[in-house]
Amino acid sequence: MDYKAFMIKYAEIGTKGKNRYIFEDILCRNINRKLKPLGDFYVRKEQGRIFVEANSDYDYEDVVEALGKVFGIVGICPVVVLNETDFDSIKNAVITYVDKAYRKHNFTFKVNTRRNDKSFPMTSMEVNSELGHYLLEAFPDMKVDVHEPEEIINVEIRKTVYIYSITIPGPGGLPVGTNGKGMALLSGGIDSPVATYMIAKRGVKMEAVYYNAPPFTSERAKQKVIDLATIVADYAGSIRLHIVNFAEIQKAIYDNCPHEELTIIMKRYMIKIAEELAKANDCQITVTGESIGQVSSQTVFSLAVINDVATMPVMRPCIGMDKQEIVDISEKIGSYETSILPYEDCCTTFVAKHPVTKPILSAIEKSEAKLEGIIEPLYQKALETVEVITCRSGNN
């Protein structure tokens, strides 16, 4: 079928009152960006809807897949555009449309006509019943049901005629860029890419930080995190990944603090550094993939002690999810296969064999006091030697 346009449905944006046009404009911009590599498209707002019109040849499957990754879109309707506006042409086009758009022609339907062009010689009701009549004639196994039809055949008569009925679900959420900026801590595991995706889905532009610790972590582990950020960027738009050299800080903690507290103290430093980077890059929040009880550093006791260093809100969208629920999302967004590559697990030097599960803040602070005078220059150096890589997927 030759679809010349797509009608984009969105939901929550509609509730945003006076700010609505800002949300719509950003959604249009994001759609434009996403489709740019796929052809020449014209994106416009019109009466509470967004139309994407193709001005060049394009690959239908590629475009639907790309639109399916733009947050804020609830539904994508492929539209047949007809330049002739006489009834006979409309009738023939609708029959051809139904013939090609459906594999089987045995469903209940109604025709729903909207007539913006009031000079059209028939009323909407008349068009509905005439088109219904011709469709029944062409497809004897179809039935009209005006109350609960399985399919609604939409016909909009304007300067041109739009015919559409199928809605392909979009990802939902809010357009990225409508809701500030966040700094996600990416580890290379399953949870943090999912957390990044979930916050981006609520319209937040994302950046990310990765703590690199050669020789205790490998170049492949770093590449894996770049790959994960790139996968999330397919939905979230480009993600600037800040790579922090963390090995010296880890060594200092290892040298001076009790080993069962290593992870907690390390994570507190990770949050501190993430906040520094967040502030420097105009972010309002940090984001982690933590989930209650998953590992020793994610007991509520540990989370509370880690969170104590935070001055910005730490968003933890996976916090109440079971592992399987997180895995399900990671499979849906396509990060799972990359997340389970084994490089990261190989370097557990700085994970104690018996870490604390109920750390006490005052005890941790006392241990950290031993780092005074040692850690500051290392901390400064870590911030000064950050490497930034912009991760963007093939088409955004």
Binding site: P214, P215, Y254, C346, C347, F350, V351, A352
Partner: protein
């Protein structure tokens, strides 16, 4: 300084090999099966390559099949021979220290209902002949033992094994994975009693994606790749002419320079081992092969030492599994495990493997870097 000590993983292609391959890709790009001149020109390279290997190995050129590499050669030999002889018996025998491209075809045969026996090794990594003798029975159709172990360089007594197999089970096929022996030993499969022998081009400064399988005349194997019937139907698919020509040229050069190269690599290996094992808690697990040194640095996980050396431009491979991920990486440490190494040495072992172009300076540089880094790294262990 840069020191590439991972030549058992892969080697740098020789310039003359590269030049020949480029010429073939640019000028003699025909399909060797085509009837016209372009095809005939391309076929010439395949024929010459086959003649080269036949001459080096003292076999007939009809006994050589070109493949996409060592993995395919091993798969073709093992699965092909087992399938061809499955009516005569069900026992297939291999060792506990084979490369994954042998071990996994045997695992596949096991799943298909074959009776797989894996022969253990001694503390040097050499297969136990008494175990093999006990395992050989009337039902045995295939024995596959490697020539040189890829992790520690243990050299197997291939001739003795061949004699034993043929004495006890005259109908059994004897396959040898000679991938790490290619270019380091004079391979005369017929004289040694080998029926099937796998080699790979990229371990001897030839291109990746090249390999060969010697199939002794009269040895039955069922092809595992079906198609246009090239290479007497053993291995369908348009021959990879540049890779075949490149590998065979590299083999010819390796053969010509073998004594010189081996003496050089052996000297480097010995220098490295003596320089390192004088350090406390450093042990050698190395076998007799001239190009492979296996060293354990107790107290430092192998990946951490590997990445530390990498930062100084020294490239080696980790011969052991990561203890935090045993189930996933079990296969990687099969040799060290089978040799009965202590867990401490198992997780701290690195493989250094040499080529003709490594130097004494590189070896001394590596020794110095390790001397400097080892005490630092030993401080950071999981507690």
């Amino acid at each position: 300084m840069e020191a590439y000590f991972d030549n058992a993983a892969t080697t740098k292609v020789l310039p003359q090999v590269k030049d020949l391959m480029v010429k073939i890709m640019e000028e003699d790009f025909g399909n060797p099966s085509s009837l016209h001149m372009k095809g005939v020109d391309a076929e010439k390279y395949v024929r010459q390559g086959r003649e080269t290997l036949a001459r080096l190995w003292k076999v007939d050129k009809s006994e050589i099949i070109f493949t996409s590499g060592g993995t395919e050669s091993n798969n073709m030999a093992i699965i092909g021979a087992a399938r061809a002889h499955e009516k005569e018996g069900h026992r297939v025998i291999t060792s506990a220290v084979e490369h994954a491209s042998v071990a996994n075809p045997f695992k596949y045969l096991e799943e298909q209902g074959f009776d797989v026996v894996r022969i253990g090794v001694d503390e040097r990594g050499i297969v136990k002949l008494d175990e093999l003798e006990a395992a050989l029975n009337d039902d045995t159709i295939l024995v596959s033992i490697m020539y040189v172990n890829n992790e520690v360089g243990a050299v197997m007594p291939v001739k003795d094994i061949a004699d034993m197999v043929h004495d006890i089970c005259p109908k059994a096929v004897f396959h040898v994975d000679a991938i790490q022996a290619f270019g380091k030993f004079h391979l005369y499969p017929k004289r040694m009693g080998i029926d099937l022998m796998s080699v790979s081009g990229h371990k001897i400064h030839g291109p990746k994606g090249s390999g060969a399988l010697f199939v002794k005349r009269g040895t039955r194997i069922v092809p595992i790749i079906l198609g246009g019937g090239q290479q007497q139907g053993y291995r369908s698919g348009t021959e990879n002419v540049p890779a075949i020509a490149g590998m065979c040229l590299a083999a010819e050069i390796a053969d010509k320079e073998m004594d010189e190269r081996c003496a050089h690599m052996k000297a480097l290996k010995d220098r490295l081992i003596s320089g390192l094992t004088e350090l406390e808690g450093v042990y050698s697990n190395s076998g007799e092969a001239c190009h492979i040194a296996s060293i354990s640095f107790t107290g430092v996980r192998s990946e951490i030492m590997l990445h530390t050396l990498e930062n100084s431009g020294i490239y080696v491979s980790s011969g052991s599994a990561c203890s935090s991920n045993k189930t996933q990486n079990k296969n990687l440490s099969s040799t060290l495990h089978a040799m009965g190494l202590s867990p401490e040495r198992l997780e701290s072992t690195l493989r250094f493997s040499f080529a003709y172009d490594n130097t004494e300076e590189q070896v001394d540089y590596a020794i110095n870097v390790i001397k400097k880094e080892l005490p630092v790294l030993r401080k950071y262990v999981r507690k």
